[in-house]
């Protein structure tokens, strides 16, 4: 008899769970319908809905949650100042769950069910490629905040992270001039490292560099003993590191265990920022290089308040990093474009965004009208003992984005057919 009681109880619980979820969803659904009925796309009286779509679960959550927080902070700040067009921004948050088809599904939901005015989201190239057809099909607007491999310019996406000529290409040139000619390329086995290395190889050929080796490991790989012995044997001047995520922890720890420090071997990483340093440990990373457009230490008035506010909101132990800042910029750029356009209509916002300038924490940035990327300053930094970067070099002026590398003669074969 006791078993029966348990069974009925569990049944009740399941039913309750489902009912609960159903109800909350219903409420949400009805309010959204209500507001959209009264005033069309973008939200109701006095509010504008915006979508936020990052991985809040799964392997990418560790990186993407911080970007989501920066975007929420920007929305809060804008709302505190009276919103956009006198309307409050209401974020609709969805979880991409580190799964690319889920990104496509949630993007579709945000545009066609919630009728958001724009979406801020994505991290991996794969998630962006999955969302791209959805945004083009439904004529939505996506702000993508992470540096990536270039060779793309969708009319429905604004890219607020760096493209290759704002991070990788200048970094290689700087290394060739300052650190040596012999490059060893190490990356995770997916699209960004493979495409980046293809570009680097062309550039090395053109600028007199030399390829000492090229290795890929699966995402999440943790045994670098073989690769470190290959590096030792090849004796490169520079290891250009496009590893992503946990692999960096293993690689740098084992590099140090093998007795190789930053003094013996130059490494430059393009996916290791302040957040990753926290995870990997300063002791193993001190002295290694990275290339970004923004560091927490970047000295601008806007950055001072940005870092201060971020720490106040999310904790003094938190750090800001390039993608976090790019996500924050995206919200402000969109808001400025909407103010200028006087509407949240996608075509009008895109038109208004052309040439738009803003004093971001990373310095002055400007939207390129042609490819919807951003003019950004390139910065090469060295990891310090406190886990922050010291800037060694910067490009001075913001660099014009060139996703197809059309301005580089040696890149001709890369961008053919586009």
């Amino acid at each position: 008899m006791r078993e029966n009681v348990w069974k009925s109880l569990s049944l009740l619980l399941v039913a309750l769970c489902i009912a609960l979820a159903g109800c909350s969803n219903d409420n949400k659904g009805s309010t959204s319908e209500g507001t959209t009925e009264t005033s069309g796309a973008g939200g109701g009286d006095g509010e504008i809905k915006v979508g936020i779509l990052h991985s809040l679960s799964g392997t990418m959550a560790i990186s993407e949650v911080s970007v989501k927080e920066a975007e929420m902070m920007a929305i809060d700040e804008i709302n505190a100042k009276g919103g956009v067009l006198g309307k409050k921004l209401v974020p609709v948050v969805e979880d991409g769950a580190s799964d690319w088809p889920t990104f496509a599904e949630k993007a579709r939901k945000l545009i066609s069910e919630d009728k958001v005015a724009t979406v801020f989201g994505g991290w991996t190239s794969a998630s962006r490629k999955a969302m791209l057809p959805v945004f083009e099909e439904l004529n939505g607007l996506l702000w993508y905040p992470v540096q990536y491999e270039g060779l793309e310019a969708s009319p429905n996406i604004f890219y607020t992270g760096a493209t290759t000529n704002q991070q990788i290409v200048p970094a290689v040139t700087w290394l060739l001039e300052n650190r040596g000619k012999k490059f060893f390329l190490l990356g995770s086995d997916y699209v960004f490292p493979r495409t980046a290395n293809k570009i680097i190889k062309e550039q090395l050929k053109a600028e007199g560099g030399e390829l000492a080796g090229e290795e890929y490991t699966p995402l999440g790989h943790t045994d670098y003993a073989t690769i470190i012995s290959k590096i030792k044997a090849a004796k490169p001047d520079v290891v250009f590191n496009t590893l992503n995520g946990d692999s960096n922890v293993a690689f740098f720890k084992q590099l140090k265990d093998a007795g190789i420090t930053a003094k013996d071997l130059t490494t430059l990483s393009v996916s290791v920022a302040e957040e990753e340093i926290r995870g990997i440990g300063v002791d193993v990373l001190e002295g290694h290089f990275a290339a970004w457009n923004y560091y927490q230490t970047t000295d601008t008035p806007a950055n001072k308040t940005f870092v201060e506010n971020y720490k106040k909101k999310y904790g003094a132990d938190r750090v800001t990093a390039d993608p976090i800042e790019a996500g924050y910029d995206a919200v402000y750029l969109w808001a400025a474009a909407v103010e200028k356009a006087g509407s949240v209509d996608v075509a009008k916002v895109k038109e208004a965004a052309k040439g738009l300038e803003w004093d971001a924490p990373e310095g002055k940035i400007k939207i390129d009208g042609d490819n919807q990327h951003i003019y950004k300053t390139v910065r090469i930094g060295e990891v310090q003992a406190d886990g922050q970067f010291k800037e060694l070099w910067n490009s001075g002026d913001p660099v014009k984005p060139d996703p197809y590398l059309k301005g580089y003669e040696w890149a001709g074969s890369l961008s053919s057919g586009n």
């Binding site: 029966n4 348990w6 069974k7 569990s10 049944l11 619980l13 399941v14 769970c17 489902i18 979820a21 159903g22 909350s24 969803n25 949400k28 809040l56 679960s57 948050v93 969805e94 979880d95 769950a97 799964d99 690319w100 088809p101 496509a104 599904e105 949630k106 579709r108 939901k109 066609s112 069910e113 991996t124 190239s125 794969a126 490629k129 999955a130 791209l132 057809p133 959805v134 099909e137 439904l138 060779l151 086995d189 997916y190 699209v191 493979r194 495409t195 293809k198 890929y216 699966p218 074969s413 890369l414 053919s416 057919g417 586009n418």
Partner: protein, 363 residues
């Protein structure tokens, strides 16, 4: 089983089927385009669940590699769509991966007929080959399951590594037309929904026919005592191979439908996690009952959508709780509920009637 069913129960069953059919056929009336699209995706998943149930619930073979078969079907359809979208030019990812000409094995996929046939036959063939080497050598139980996991890892690594030929981690995406019709238009979406409903019903009828036939009896006999079947004079390996192959073909079919609904296929859809998820649908829905397996796929995926939309930060906890509740309190899955209703009515415990499963399938 049916002989033992009392007529009121038969009525209930009939009512259930009618309700399900009405719900499916009227869905376009009460669901928005987006929701209809989601439901269509779930129905495609239900086809995978049916196939999995055929080999796990009825034959006792646990495959943790159905993501691969699903993915192969998906890629076959995606390759066709991609070639259509590229309109004679090289697909974009090949271009930026440095290929200058279309690889030979891509060429036949420009024909829909070939792509469709390949989407079902390729997975079925792969399963047949894998089955030939394992079942014939009497590799079964956990060892077979581990082999299927190995298949997943090999395939995913291969697809990620061959970026120029497969699109790498990004997978194949960015296509818009099927037979000259835009995949984005609501009419196409509705048609595709109907196609999926028909496919699901066909898959169900096929599985039910197989299960009720002599073939199905042998499958169940293999599940309950493989050696006895062998001693009686049957060759279990042949039955296992055929069942496994049909199951893989169904997964391939589902993969093709999935691509049409979602618009992307990537190695992440054939990885270990989705493969295990597919088994979960069957386990939660009710192993050894076809309706249970299909319902499990639909309900679990609906729950996933609803929870993740309502609580984007905490939905995984809800899913976890749901799994725990089902595993602890409904060992026979959601389909076991029907048994419980019987118990509620009659006021006494119903014993196994041989249809639900109450023994370990992995031995």
């Amino acid at each position: 089983m049916h002989k033992r069913l009392m007529s009121p129960q038969r009525l209930w069953l009939l009512a259930g089927y009618t309700a399900a059919a009405v719900a499916l056929f009227c869905a376009p009336l009460y669901l928005s385009d987006f929701r209809l699209n989601l439901l269509a995706k779930f129905l495609a998943f239900a086809i995978v669940a049916l196939g999995l149930d055929l080999i796990w619930g009825y034959t006792g073979i646990l495959s943790l590699g159905h993501g691969v078969f699903f993915g192969l079907g998906g890629y076959a359809m995606a390759m066709y769509l991609k070639l259509e979208a590229s309109g004679g030019r090289l697909p974009d990812f090949m271009d930026w991966s440095g290929l200058t000409a279309l690889p030979w094995f891509w060429k036949p996929f420009s024909s829909f007929g070939f792509a469709f046939a390949a989407g079902i036959l390729l997975p079925a063939l792969l399963a047949l080959v894998l089955g030939y080497f394992t079942f014939r050598n009497r590799i079964r139980g956990v060892y077979f399951t581990i082999l299927t996991q190995a298949l997943v890892i090999i395939t995913v690594t291969l697809f990620i590594g061959q970026q120029a030929y497969t699109g790498g981690t990004n997978g194949v995406t960015g296509y818009g037309k099927l037979f000259g019709q835009s995949l984005a238009s609501p009419e196409t979406k509705q048609t595709l929904y109907w196609v999926t409903v028909v496919a699901l019903i066909a898959a169900y009828v096929l599985c039910r026919f197989l299960v009720k036939s002599r073939f199905g009896k042998v499958l169940r006999a293999i599940r309950d005592g493989e050696n006895r079947v062998r001693f009686i004079g049957y060759n279990p390996a042949v039955y296992q191979m055929v069942a496994f192959s049909i199951s893989a073909g169904l997964a391939g079919l589902a993969g093709m439908l999935f691509v049409l609904h979602v618009g992307i296929i990537s190695p992440s859809m054939m990885g270990i996690v989705p493969s295990i998820e597919m088994v979960l649908w069957v386990a939660i829905g009710g192993r050894g009952t076809l309706v249970g397996a299909a319902l499990g796929a639909i309900l679990l995926n609906s729950a996933k959508s609803v929870f993740s939309e309502s609580y984007p930060d905490a939905w995984l906890f809800f899913m976890g709780a749901l799994f725990v509740i089902v595993v602890v309190f409904l060992p026979k899955g959601a389909a076991g509920l029907f048994g419980q209703f019987k118990w509620l009515r009659k006021g006494r415990t119903v014993h196994e009637d041989g249809d639900g499963v109450s023994y370990p399938a992995v031995r």
